[in-house]
């Protein structure tokens, strides 16, 4: 019996091992962006926005056969316990890269050659698992912007806490747990587009963790589809009622 999971199998926030935190998804929340979305997962609060396709600038970066995709993951100074200086940290730069790669796998980039697409994510509050939540939201923002996609990307983290494999680490589990493993997944295409891990797992534990992560992603995927449906259905409603 450890300190992060009690004898009845409850986690610090009362969840069971395979349970995800409360989730809220919203599409189209920013006026200027071509597409946008908002996610709350536990206390994570994250805004994602997409601009493009648009001209490439500076021009020599133009790709003749596909879209150039840029991505910025950024945490607000007040999003964490101790104020984070606003300039991008090495961690934020790495996450920006793996997020871009996770999302690019879903985008049909050759449909708009010689253009650029910017994906911006701002973490207003961070609570463990922010990169997964960011990908989940950014994927909705891409859909909202009308970017041609092969599938939605859903992402969450699994980990090992007090010796158990658990879904969707919260802040304290992320910091004090043994393992953190974020996964991004396109359920329809059965493709993993982000996979990171740190901490020690046996090979069998790894397989169980991956399996659990994919289940979490499928759950998020359903929520993403519902959020899109709600957004466009109610929009359609309004159009009709005009």
């Amino acid at each position: 019996m450890g300190k992060l999971i009690d004898e009845s199998g409850r986690r610090t926030d009362g969840r069971g091992p395979h349970e995800m935190r409360p989730l809220k998804l919203e599409v189209g929340i920013l006026k200027n962006a071509d597409g946008s979305a908002y996610i709350e997962l536990g206390r994570n609060k994250i805004v994602a926005a997409v601009y493009g396709p648009k001209e490439v600038h500076p021009r020599h970066l133009t790709l003749p056969d596909r879209m150039l995709i840029k991505c910025r993951y950024h945490m607000s100074p007040f999003s964490v316990e101790e104020r984070k200086p606003p300039q991008p940290s090495r961690r934020e730069i790495e996450i920006s890269k793996v997020m871009r790669e996770a999302l690019e796998a879903a985008i049909i980039t050759d449909q708009y050659p010689r253009t650029a697409l910017d994906i911006f994510v701002e973490v207003l509050e961070s609570d463990g698992g922010s990169r997964g939540a960011s990908i989940t939201a950014a994927s909705l923002a891409l859909a909202n912007a009308g970017i041609p996609m092969r599938d939605l990307v859903a992402a969450c983290a699994v980990g090992k806490v007090d010796g158990q494999i658990v879904l969707d680490l919260n802040d304290v589990e992320d910091k004090e747990g043994e393992v953190d493993m974020p996964v991004a997944y396109m359920p329809n295409l059965d493709r993993i587009t982000l996979l990171q891990m740190d901490g020690k797992l046996t090979i069998d534990e790894f397989k169980a963790a991956l399996d659990l992560a994919l289940r979490g992603c499928r759950q998020l995927y359903e929520a993403q589809r519902r959020a899109l449906y709600d957004h466009y259905f109610s929009s359609a409603q309004q159009e009709v009622s005009k």
Partner: protein, 285 residues
């Protein structure tokens, strides 16, 4: 935020259209000249921040967060806490934002909000001292513009003011003789004495209009941001590459001073705090 990539033909056409309307006393969005767009303020939106507020002013959206740390005071103010205001116009806020460190627009925004708060005396910084010359509270106000649709100065100021007015910061004690501050476990409000109110107007041709949208700012000649206390004015910032006549400025300041009282009441209502006295009381140790 740069508008350099805008088409100047479109800009010119829009300016003509706008002046036509203005000549009839109309604005593109139907508002009267002195009308503000709908304002909403939600506070305590970020639980990890000591204080936070999200402001919508029409389509302009700003979030501000307050964080606190213990630090040495600045050399020239040994007996006062530190106030640090920073602003970022996030790249997701507008197609015209360039990535990179804060540019002149973000820096100006932060500094004007800072002066409005600082000079109004809104927060009594002399009460944020643990040991003069050695250890004080540093109050960080970080402002993020989430959607830029004009009048960032007022929206950012309202967000910062609301976040400060509703913040609850961890209390520390530093007993005589000790050199390590210890948290008392209490969360205390900041010593807030009143609410400064920022008011901004723009001039297009001969017309003066309040709370300009991004479209209006793109064609304006000049702009004036005024910050008011209950009793008078505490900060000014002229913007844009045109000029104001002295008569226009005096008229504007008088008019806006009156109008600021209404907005102060509106903000108070949204923050759930009463008159100035009550606010002060609410924040007394």
């Amino acid at each position: 935020m740069s508008v350099s990539r805008r088409s100047f033909v479109v800009e010119r056409l829009r300016k003509e259209k706008m002046k036509e309307l203005l000549a009839k006393g109309q604005r593109l969005d139907g508002r009267g000249m002195t009308d503000y767009r709908p304002l909403s303020i939600s506070t305590s939106v970020v639980s990890k921040a000591e204080g936070s507020a999200q402001v919508h002013l029409g389509n302009t959206a700003v979030i501000a967060g307050v964080k606190v740390a213990l630090d040495r005071p600045y050399r020239d103010t040994p007996d006062r806490g530190n106030l640090i205001v920073n602003a970022e116009i996030l790249p997701l806020a507008s197609p015209y934002v360039e990535l990179g460190p804060p540019d002149e627009n973000a820096i100006e925004l932060a500094r004007v909000v800072d002066r409005g708060i600082r000079e109004s005396g809104m927060v009594d910084m002399s009460k944020l001292v643990l040991r003069p010359g050695e250890l004080v509270y540093s109050i960080f106000v970080d402002i993020n513009v989430l959607n830029a649709d004009g009048n960032l100065f007022d929206a950012a100021s309202y967000a910062a003011v609301a976040a400060l007015a509703t913040a609850r910061i961890p209390e520390y004690s530093l007993p005589e003789g000790s050199s390590t501050p210890t948290p008392t476990g209490n969360r205390i409000p900041l010593p807030v004495t009143g609410l400064p109110v920022s008011m901004t107007a723009a001039k297009i041709g001969d017309y003066v209009l309040y709370d300009p949208t991004e479209e209006e700012e793109a064609v304006m000649d000049t702009r004036l941001t005024m910050v008011f206390t209950e009793d008078g004015i505490c900060a000014l910032q002229k913007g844009g590459s045109g000029g104001w006549s002295p008569a226009e400025v005096v008229k504007l300041v008088e008019e806006a001073f009156a109008k600021a009282k209404e907005i102060r009441e509106e903000i108070r209502r949204m923050l759930g705090i009463g008159g100035q006295a009550e606010a002060a009381q609410g924040s007394g140790t």
